[in-house]
Amino acid sequence: MSIRKKASISDMIDEYFEDMEKWADQLRETMSERPCWDLKTCAIEPLREITVTPTEVIVTVDLPYAKEETVQVKAVDGSSLEILAEMKKKIRLTELGVTHRKGVIQRFHAWIRIPVTVNMDKMKIQHKKGILEIKLPRKR
């Protein structure tokens, strides 16, 4: 029988993130890559970042060209967020250097899974310099 050494909180956190990384790698390997834009919905998937602290989850989303008044953040099933935002102008794919497809992009759309349990009702949102920041307190 193996006896596991009692882990410190920082070891547990490290282990948790290593597991998450492995899970993400496995997921990436099993999914075929696809473009970040969808011509049917005229949407592009924005870059985003999730930071988990002991007290909250901070999600940031890069939304260049977004009209601030159109940014929507919807809590879905307590563990995911849906982000939607319209752009200030329609952008042709050719303007982004994609010359082999014809179409326009006019909104951002993303689904973001929150990796720990949070209190969606206490969500705080700010939008600054085209960066959307969502703070979600963790449930204890």
Binding site: D62, G97, K128, I131
Partner: protein, 248 residues
């Protein structure tokens, strides 16, 4: 020269130039700055990297294939830039080949343009820049030009190899780091790093256009940033956040 990595020259390369390195990294600071430098100074492609260590990828421009790592030149300036992140496991051979090639061209100084990620970047209006140097002479130059020195810490990525190799050879090299978003393209940080570059080289470029086109650049750079994030994770870029333990 490293046989697995070849630098192919297609035009005359100016001798005794300053060589600037700009590779995808935090905030894509170096690459955005390099792209602006190429446009503003009218730099032309003079050489490129040919290596089967790199992924089987070419960059098409106006219907013709190009290497993803190219060297541009102007008067007294060389600029090595990559349009895609360099895979972690080939950073050493690629950088060694570029540095050895630089020696053969009698390059007088190597300068890497990069970023330094900060928390809550969106709340910061005045970005700071820092410099690190390969030897006492380069450090003195940086200080004399009014640059703030990064005295302690870790550096991860191609710019770390440049400083390391230059230090070994006793050659002057400086890395310029502007505070930036870690994972989002940051044209404002690129503008800052160009201002710092001007202090050392005198290469003054107008950054107004760069700032004006900021949102467009952020959107266009989205996919390169995403690929760069993946590569930065592999090279343990996060180590730059670590508290250094200098063993004296």
């Amino acid at each position: 020269m490293n046989e697995e990595v070849k630098i192919i020259e297609i035009k005359n390369v100016p001798p005794r130039a300053t060589l600037i390195f700009a590779f995808p990294d935090v905030g894509l600071v170096g690459v955005i700055a390099a792209s602006h430098l190429i446009d503003e100074l009218g730099l032309t492609e003079v050489a490129y990297v040919n290596s089967n260590l790199l992924p089987p990828l070419i960059v098409l421009h106006e219907g013709l294939p190009h290497s993803s790592i190219r060297i541009f030149a102007g008067q007294d300036t060389l600029l090595a830039v990559s349009e895609v992140p360099i895979p972690t496991d080939v950073i050493y051979p690629i950088m060694d080949a570029l540095i050895n090639w630089a020696k053969s061209k009698d390059v007088k100084m190597m300068i890497s343009l990069s970023g330094m990620p900060i928390q809550d970047r969106q709340d910061v209006t005045e970005l700071k820049s820092f410099a690190a140097a390969s030897n006492a002479e380069a450090l003195k130059t940086a200080k004399e030009k009014g640059l703030e020195i990064l005295t302690e810490g870790y550096m991860v990525g191609p710019q770390a190899v440049v400083l390391q190799r230059a230090a070994e050879a006793g050659s002057p090299a400086i890395t310029l780091l502007a505070q930036c978003f870690p994972n989002y393209p940051d044209p404002e940080a690129a503008a800052e790093v160009l201002k710092e570059l001007a202090k050392i080289t005198g290469l003054k470029v107008n950054v107004a256009k760069l700032l004006e086109k900021g949102e467009e650049i952020r959107l266009r750079a989205r996919d390169v940033m995403k690929r760069t994030q993946e590569e930065m994770t592999k090279m343990k870029k996060g180590q730059e956040y670590d508290i250094p333990m200098y063993v004296s």
